[in-house]
């Protein structure tokens, strides 16, 4: 048994199919996310990566196929219940609460996560534990100075950081990141991915990203999706040298356009 096969599968997408009218956006995709994984999902624009995340999180119902989380079939489970079981995602385009401040946003998320979301009689901010966790997260994501400003006035880079902070405040066990560093300034990208890589070893991470330097430094395993179907999967080394992957996605790094040390 290979080392990978010996690991526990935490999230298992089994032959997922998604059709929109005549278009097959997801074509019999099988993907296994192992416990503690640092697993990257790459592929050309429009290959169906975000659609796959939408299927896994329950935002879209699959046309065929099943999804198993921790051994339980969750194919028909509503999205908010999947989150409550520990499967959390971030969005490629920021999905934030524009009129709330980062502090309010994180406070409500952490409260919800700790089971206090339905409490109508207690003031938000009363719970010391929740506040401590919020301060920690605000600090880690450099949001402390802007914590009381409404999200809509924050610059794009801060909004992106908040997007990720929200996901982490849900204490995920399975984290699905959809292009997390898009729009984040150069100096903060590595830091952001380090924060993600530094998550507890038992948190399993699936990352969609186009910045290859970051992907190759982060991922231990990769799946390549093209036109809605899995083209190949394997360790980063093998993927980087796969001619088919180079032809459709990675390119050949011609000197006229890209230099080494990109990023």
């Amino acid at each position: 048994m290979s080392e990978r096969e010996a690991q526990t599968t935490v999230l298992h997408a089994q032959q997922l199919v998604k059709r929109f009218g005549g278009i097959t956006a997801t074509d019999h995709v099988t993907l296994e996310l192992k416990k503690g994984a640092r697993h990257a999902l790459i592929g050309p624009n429009g290959a169906g990566k975000t659609t796959l995340i939408n299927l896994l999180t329950g935002v879209l119902p699959p046309t065929e196929g099943r999804i198993v989380l921790d051994g339980q079939d969750i194919t028909d489970l509503p999205p908010h219940l999947r989150v409550q079981r520990g499967m959390v995602r971030t969005f490629q385009i920021n999905q934030l609460f524009d009129s709330l401040s980062p502090l309010q946003t994180l406070a409500l998320t952490v409260s919800r996560q700790q089971g206090l979301g339905a409490r109508w009689w207690q003031k938000l901010g009363r719970n010391a534990q929740v506040m401590a966790r919020c301060e920690q997260l605000l600090e880690r994501f450099h949001l402390s100075e802007v914590m009381n400003q409404p999200t809509r006035v924050l610059p794009y880079g801060k909004r992106r950081l908040l997007e990720i902070a929200i996901a982490l405040s849900c204490e995920p066990r399975v984290l699905l990141l959809d292009e997390p560093v898009a729009g984040v300034p150069a100096g903060e990208r590595e830091e952001l991915l380090q924060t993600v890589a530094a998550l507890p070893a038992d948190v399993s991470v699936l990352l969609i990203e186009h910045d290859m330097d970051l992907v190759f430094s982060f991922a231990k395993y990769m799946t390549v999706l093209v036109n809605g179907a899995v083209l190949t999967e394997g360790e980063p080394e093998a993927i980087a040298n796969d001619e088919r992957v180079k032809a459709v996605y990675l390119g050949h790094g011609t000197e006229a356009t890209l230099e080494d040390g990109h990023g």
């Binding site: 609460f97 502090l103 506040m131």
Partner: protein
Amino acid sequence: MKAQDALLGASRMKAWELALWLALLASPLALPTHALIINEIAIVALFAISLDLILGYSGIVSLGHAAFFGLGGYAAGLLAKHISPDPLTGLLLAAVVSALAGALMSLTVLRGNDLTRLMVTLGFALILYELANKLDWLTGGADGLQGVTMGPLLGRFEFDLFGRTAALYSLTVLLLVFLVLRRVVHSPYGATLMAIRDNRLRAMSIGIPVASRLASVYTLAAGIAGMAGALLTQTTGFASLDLFDIHRSADVMLMLVIGGTGWLYGGIFGAAVFKVMQDVLSNITPQYWTFWLGLFLVVLVMVGRERLVRPRSWFARGKTQEAR
């Protein structure tokens, strides 16, 4: 500033609020000739804050909130006529009946988009209007429910002709509900409502049970609207089809436009401004007061509520600062 202080500070009762409420409660005693209109303002303010709860805080649009106002009004009236003239029992029954109706209606309001919600809520109010019209053996039909006489409040305070007891009754109910709602909107529950309003997809994606949360707040808002309707019936001794009328649903929305949504005082200030304007203008020009009200609304929307309230800003250069 510590995180905790930032959040708690926002929800602490400020000095001006204390002063405002004391003034409001004292008003029927200080201005006894205006007790009737103070009563009306309090009732309609209660109605408005119940709409703000779903519109301003949860993002549910409704053109038929009067459905619950009317249900509460008739429930309280019928109870007083046939079973018990005790005002508080009537208030409670009205709240329960409207809340139940709200719970049922919430199923229809969760689906679709804003446009369909406007239609569905409007339709529901129209249905109730017709039902009240048709069931005239119960409701008195177009003539309305007459002769609703109330017993003394808390067994002691009789409803007097000047409306003083009525005004104090309505103001007290308004204050108590306001305090509870204040707690609610500053709680984690309230924060999840605002999250749903701002971004339903994200709210779902952080584990908030959106459907049940919206259903619960719609039920609560319906119950409060029912209480407002009950207060009107109890303090005027009369309930009519007018309680369900679309103009009630529309007026209450206008009050929120005037006062602002998403902060409970919006409903209160909006109700006060609207009612006072209505009263003053119709005394000056009984036929054309709606023209002046309309003009006021146009000016309000074009100039912006913030600037209208701050005369200094009329002389400042340029638009307000947007941050990047």
